[in-house]
Amino acid sequence: MPLSEILFYAREFAWIPIVLVFLVLPYLYCVLAIDVHKEYAELVKSAPESFVFTDATIGEIQDDLHIFDLDWWLIAAIAALFVGLFSLGTLASKSASLPSPLDAANSVSTSVSAHEGAKSFACTSGGGAAAAQCNERAVVNSMLVGYATLVGLLLSFLLMWGKVRAVRRLRTYYLKFRLSPILEEV
């Protein structure tokens, strides 16, 4: 795919990573947290009376729930981090290392039509040097958005992994419940 097309899609669909991180990720978190808390409540309900939840057991369960038990302080830190990450592109545009925004603005022509835009997004007017400068700015912006999206994806992977770990532990406990009457008899 030529650079002009990549840049076009990066600009036209820049809202997608933001929606992913600020809507899909919290939604995923809430859904997973509700599931895991429910499942652990079920675990406690279905435990045989003979089964004793020792401090160590409770500690283990709380460790598993930790990732789904975050409070506002950490959520605020994560939100601040992502706001910062998604602002990196804007911040980069203020860097004196890159050509000034005026130069770039003069050389950009963006089409409304997606298909045509893909062809014409490249910095057309203003000569070769200006177009290159414009592309440089857009590339930096796209790369930084990509980086922020990657972090968001890693975080969602971590959440899913937290659920996997919790489910594994649940399986161990249910197995123990099944075995506990047998063990008592022994």
């Binding site: 994560i78 981090l81 980069a92």
Partner: protein, 590 residues
């Protein structure tokens, strides 16, 4: 390397440590189980984590700026600062072994944990009286101003390195400082000291790795005469000693931490040795006078002057005894009565590594000096303009500075929360005796009570950090408005900011080590109040002074405040204490 790639790398280098912090906070080991865990890691901190948090605390973005400044101006003479810092840890270990901290750390009883201010409070006459409360409020305030000022200064330095590396000239530094303080505050106020330790376990090896590579890169670039090889050889020795120190204190069965130590230092040592053995390369220009750069001719002793050297030695040598963050780490350690010598060995190793980390920065500064950098304020531009792809050293520096900054700032915020919870909340009557931490058992509070008290401590800390941030910006504004062009007055005021915390030094030393206090004699609050007030006033006057006014050379007057504050507050303490004792004895006779 193209400008865009370099810019992207700089942005990634500046944000990656924060992402790592957040990811580390999601680990189950970061879960705070109780008030004990929030402030003191359930008093079960292992020696390896103690070492990593001590090193994380010592390696600062401010140290990068200062050691580049001093390394370029005064060469190896600046090594007196890391030496004094290391000696401070050695003294701390010796005092611990000799029982100097027994009363404070409560080895033999199950008294609640306390800050050093709380420890002093218990030894004051009429502790519930207004004078004793005022004395405690004053020393706690001195600590918070000193610690908080250093905190904001640290973030200021860290963000300046990033802003100049990314050439963000139009972005105001305060906005970046506010963002960084806000992020770290939210994160640390959530996880408390546990979060600090967990992130330092990850961040310190990362910082070593990256800064080690940065220094090795410079060693490679240094023109091929004996200095480049010597630099690589010194680095090899330092890394091997770091590794040896770690392996000595880690138990044989702690495979995880032993592997981390090997993985951190062994590759760096190998690369250093390879650099030492590389064949000599020709260089185009005549080699500079290396000995002259290492030991420059300075008008005053070691460049700082006799008083400057004394001040630096005192400030760095006694810091571990009065700094609330160092004492918080010491209190968090799992120390049994019969394990003091093992713990002391860990403290010596931490001191060696902390001082060694500063020495690494100094070596890097000297390397860059040999490469032609003659003004530390041009460091970032110099790295950016390095030939071929060597400008990659710039993102490496940004990454190291950000990690250094985050680990230091998190220790500071946790320590301020510690003071807020134990001292300020107790002073205003919000923290009942029930809320005190019983060591080493779990908190007697219910979950709801714990949450309420922690919430109050978090809000108090946030308010304190916000006020300190505002105060720092105002100080900066006032200093910058009077400063001549090109002079960074806030850098010059840094040691004066440290000096605020040193105002409590005479009181702390008297309470910890005086025979009178050990024999059970209570201390009159008057010497505490007067000595702290004198120290605070002098710190303020030296921080805001526009020119040298205390009779020392222009070049070094900004490192004098600690000496000035400690000596004057000690004299005041001694005089008032002598007078108070005389009055009491006289009154008793009458």
């Amino acid at each position: 390397m193209s400008t865009s790639v370099l810019l992207i790398l700089i942005f990634i280098a500046a944000t990656l440590p924060m992402i790592v912090s957040v990811f580390a906070a999601l680990l189950p080991s970061a879960r705070t189980r109780s008030v004990d865990g929030y402030f003191l890691y359930e008093r079960s901190l292992d020696i390896d984590s103690f070492l990593k948090t001590s090193v994380g605390y010592s390696l600062q973005a401010a140290a990068i700026v200062l050691f580049f400044l001093w390394g370029i101006s005064y060469g190896l003479y600046a090594a007196i600062v890391p030496i004094a810092w290391g000696v401070g840890y050695f003294l701390l270990g010796r005092v611990l072994v000799n029982g100097g901290f027994d009363a404070f750390l409560h080895f033999k009883d199950s008294e609640p944990a306390e800050t050093i201010h709380g420890h002093i409070w218990k030894r004051l006459k009429n502790p519930r009286g207004v004078w004793s409360r005022m004395a405690v409020a004053l020393i706690a305030t001195a600590t918070v101003i000193g610690l908080g000022g250093t905190l904001v200064a640290e973030v200021d330095y860290g963000s300046k390195i990033f802003l100049s590396a990314a050439k963000l000239t139009s972005v105001p530094a305060w906005s970046m400082t506010a963002l960084l303080v806000g992020f770290t505050a939210f994160y640390i106020l959530w996880g408390g000291y546990r979060a600090v330790v967990v992130t330092d376990r990850v961040q310190v090896p990362m910082a070593y790795g990256m800064f080690g590579l940065f220094t090795l890169g410079i060693a490679y670039l240094v023109p091929a005469h004996w200095f480049g090889r010597m630099m690589a050889a010194v680095l090899a020795v330092v890394f091997i000693l770091f590794l040896r120190g770690r392996l000595r204190i880690l138990p044989e069965d702690d495979q995880h931490n032993r592997s981390v130590a090997w993985l951190t230092f062994f590759p760096l040592a190998i690369v250093s040795i390879i650099l030492t053995l590389l064949p000599t390369r020709a260089h185009s220009t005549a080699p500079p006078d290396i000995l002259g750069l290492m030991f420059p001719t300075t008008p005053d002793l070691f460049g700082f002057g006799f008083l400057g050297v004394l001040s630096l030695a005192i400030a760095n040598g006694i810091w571990q005894f009065i700094d609330i963050s160092s004492l918080q780490r010491l209190e968090s350690l799992k120390i049994a009565e019969n394990e003091k010598s093992t713990v002391a060995l860990g403290i010596y190793t931490a001191g060696f590594e902390a001082a060694g980390g500063w020495f690494l920065i100094l070596v890097a500064a000297l390397g860059l000096r040999v490469l032609g950098l003659d003004d530390s304020s041009k460091l970032v531009d110099f790295l950016r303009d390095l030939p071929d792809s060597w400008s990659v050293l710039l993102p490496m520096l940004v990454f190291s500075a950000t990690v250094f900054m985050l680990s230091t700032v998190s220790c500071f915020i946790s320590a301020i929360a510690f003071v807020a919870y134990f001292d300020f909340l107790t002073l205003i009557g919000l923290n009942s005796s029930k809320a005190q931490i019983k060591a080493p058992s779990t908190s007697p509070l219910t979950n709801a009570e714990t949450n309420l008290v922690l919430f109050s401590a978090r809000i108090t800390t946030l308010v304190a950090v916000f006020c300190l941030f505002l105060g720092y910006q105002l100080l900066k504004l006032s200093l910058d408005s009077n400063a001549p062009p090109g002079v960074d007055r806030i850098s010059q005021a840094l040691y004066a900011i440290y000096a605020f915390q040193l105002a409590i030094a005479p009181t702390v030393f008297y309470v910890l080590f005086s025979k009178h206090v050990k024999s059970g004699r209570l201390l009159n609050p008057a010497p505490v109040i007067f000595s702290t007030l004198v120290g605070l006033s002098l710190a303020w006057m030296t921080a805001t002074a526009d020119a040298p006014w205390i009779g020392v050379s222009d070049a070094s007057w900004y490192v004098i405040p600690p000496l000035w504050v400690v000596s004057m507050s000690a004299i005041t303490f001694a005089l008032v204490q002598w007078f108070a004792v005389w009055m009491e004895d006289n009154h008793a006779v009458v």
